[in-house]
Subunit: 254 residues, 4 copies
């Protein structure tokens, strides 16, 4: 399990107070509030390192959740609780061709790209230059840009280029304005998904989906609670995220 | 989008009262309580068909959720809300090598196999002959058995064969009895996951994980609510599933 | 703790499969699918009785939840999880004067009447004759009608009579149509509450409240999960009620 | 609706950033970060007052929720979502005689005292002198001490004095140690309730209840979500309280 140069590792202090994804380079110095750690040659996953202050750090393999949550971001991101369910509803798997509108920081793109692999393809569209650049950098840093086509394009104004995909996902503030373009690029019978924090947004999106040939439209909300299983007592964490977004899906008729 | 013979389609009546995954064969007769439908030559996804009683049916591409939920089953299955999140926490993606203990009906296996693709590999273990046979049939019917190694084996008694994987998932009634075998097959730094309906099961699993070199152990519960967005009013569905299982994850140290 | 004739008891089989509120009469025969039970003279709360089939029954004091949930009903009722919170938000206590619109079966009325007591007063309004009669019978059977004024009246058409109350609660399908009448009867600074299953209803009610001088408008949803604490394992009940209603409250300005 | 001297008012700024319960005295100066407000003679509920900085404040009638949440506290308190449900399950109403163990800051006591009224009675027990004093002061300030008997007593060591009550509520860290004393003071057939943040506490309490003659034992968890109904969009508040406590109830057999 030797770690290659440039590979991303999850660097976590024993007390969980420092937690970051960093690129591995031998002799790299990692500075934390718990002291400095020098990454050794031939570092392996699962190793423990000591800091200059004698604190223990773990070198772990980042999960897809970690990669999404710890991405450099300037936007709200899609949380793993929602992202995993979206993948399943959209049927995104090895080899899928997927269109994403609203690249943002690239968190969900990280997930799609990782799953569809080299046989698959992701077309992602972003109208803001700064997010377009940010997401490109983020995915490049993750070593995940090969199967991605980054588009700096305002779909609301210009529509889509000539592509054909197995799934479409829209994550923009006004998704309903884009629905009419989707039948051009989504294979019939296949699924469009979107998400919005407010219920009125979902209502508008649903209406547009109905007008544009979508059936079996379904809306969900997913809640996640962390359970603290401890010697001193087991209970859900007291404070946390109560709402992120409503999810909507529908299948396109011919 | 012509559908190949033997391909699985989601066959859904307009009123959603009939919903089934069936294998496409030209001239196949599908008998429903809403009348008989004969599948035509050259059927395409997204088409509408009429039954002998004049009812409309949709021919849709089944999502991964559909394939999991509609599998022929003799066991409880893992629900999509949980399955998607597990995939992310375990970092299962294109090319991953994954070990699953407790094949059951093969619902979660469907998902893993679809995601890891032909470059990946799933080793699945089941001690009951009937579930072993059922899951093999199910996955074969889904056209998904190529990257799967089905093992009829009681891991609790025999341990694992000599494999090395990127992720381990355990779904058996007493997962804590298997934890001690996991460090032999899981790459250090990588993630083990399990799920159980009762909190005491999770407590025992956590204790065994701690004894066997796992860190960053975390427990979650995920709730899903369907939201009914309708002209006559928007609200969550009144009755439904309130609990399925608690999920537990941890990373292995060297 | 001798039980008086005519007093309501909660009659519950040991296995919880029979559970009913009945009026106590000595020598009364209670017929259940678990056999016949004859209520003895001088029955006391907390006693165990045997049925003709040898099954055990408990004689318990019904809680306010029991009285609400087991009322004879032709309408949906307000659930205890919501009812208790409403009482607190409306500040309903010993001696309060309360107006309720939408008597329905009288479940919530049971609660208000029990709490405000003989120094308090409940004015309840119902436009349907059958519900008006049903609720009167229900509350009379519960021995709770003394502090209640039952009104068969369509408030939407006729408005309120000349009353002044500490709290107003509206439980009708279109609460927004009644808001304009509330300032006539609610003491300034005090609270109006309402509940509706759909969010659009709440949106309309909120708009009308804003137009009619209400401030500090707040909306909540309450979820209740039963936790099964058992030797064989602890977990939330798997199936159940996921949504009942959204609750809205606001304070009236002068 | 003239407010009496010494009466508690909810004093709330228009923007909701200042919110406090204060005792009314004519000419009293209220200092806030939004400026100073002088309370006038003959102040009435529902009035609007201006601060020295030109900000608007509302004079509202505090609900029972307000009184609980805004009490001066040195302990965790019982939240209204739980408190209301407890009242219903325990059957606490006008005239009830209630025993509370674990007075704490007196938040729940405020509620019980308000509901049982002058015909009812609350016996409350606290073993810490500082909480005993705090709760006495709090309830005195709320004008609610007449029907309360405050006891500075360690029930775990000394048991209860000779009382007989309609309901018992225990809110201490180790409720299971007190269960054996409850049958002496609770009327048979009536209800005992308790609450604890951790599930292990509930498990121990349940075991003790079963040993001491309680039946129909039931455990619940209640979640509350605030819904933001706004012109710019409707959704649950994103962050908040996810868990407070599990609630347990049971009826005593003779």
């Amino acid at each position: 399990m030797k770690i290659r140069k440039g590979e991303n590792i999850l660097f976590l202090s024993e007390d969980k107070k420092f937690e970051k994804i960093i690129k591995y380079e031998p002799s790299k110095e990692v500075h934390t509030h718990l002291g400095k750690v020098v990454l050794p040659e031939n570092l392996k996953y699962g190793e423990k390192l000591s800091s200059s202050k004698g604190k223990i750090f773990y070198v772990l393999k980042p999960s897809l959740s970690d990669m999404m949550m710890k991405i450099k971001r300037k936007t709200t991101i899609i949380y793993p609780k929602d992202a995993g369910f979206i993948i399943l509803e959209l049927g995104i798997k090895n080899g899928s061709k997927v269109c994403e509108v609203g690249t943002g920081s690239g968190a969900f793109l990280t997930l799609i790209s990782s799953i569809v692999g080299s046989k698959g393809k992701v077309y992602t569209f972003e109208r803001r230059k700064d997010f377009y650049e940010l997401s490109k950098n983020n995915l490049f840093n993750y070593g995940l840009s090969k199967n991605i086509e980054f588009n700096l394009r305002d779909v609301e104004k210009e529509g889509f280029p000539k592509i054909k995909v197995d799934a479409v996902f829209i994550d923009v503030p006004e998704p309903w304005k884009l629905i009419k373009f989707v039948p051009e690029i989504l294979k019939p019978g296949h699924t469009l998904g979107s998400l919005s924090p407010n219920i009125e947004q979902i209502q508008k999106t649903k209406e547009e989906m109905e007008k544009n040939g979508f059936v079996r439209i379904r809306v969900y909300e997913i809640l996640l609670r962390e359970i603290m299983v401890r010697k001193i007592g087991t209970r859900p964490r007291e404070f946390g995220i109560v709402h992120t977004a409503y999810l909507i899906f529908g299948n396109l008729l011919k």
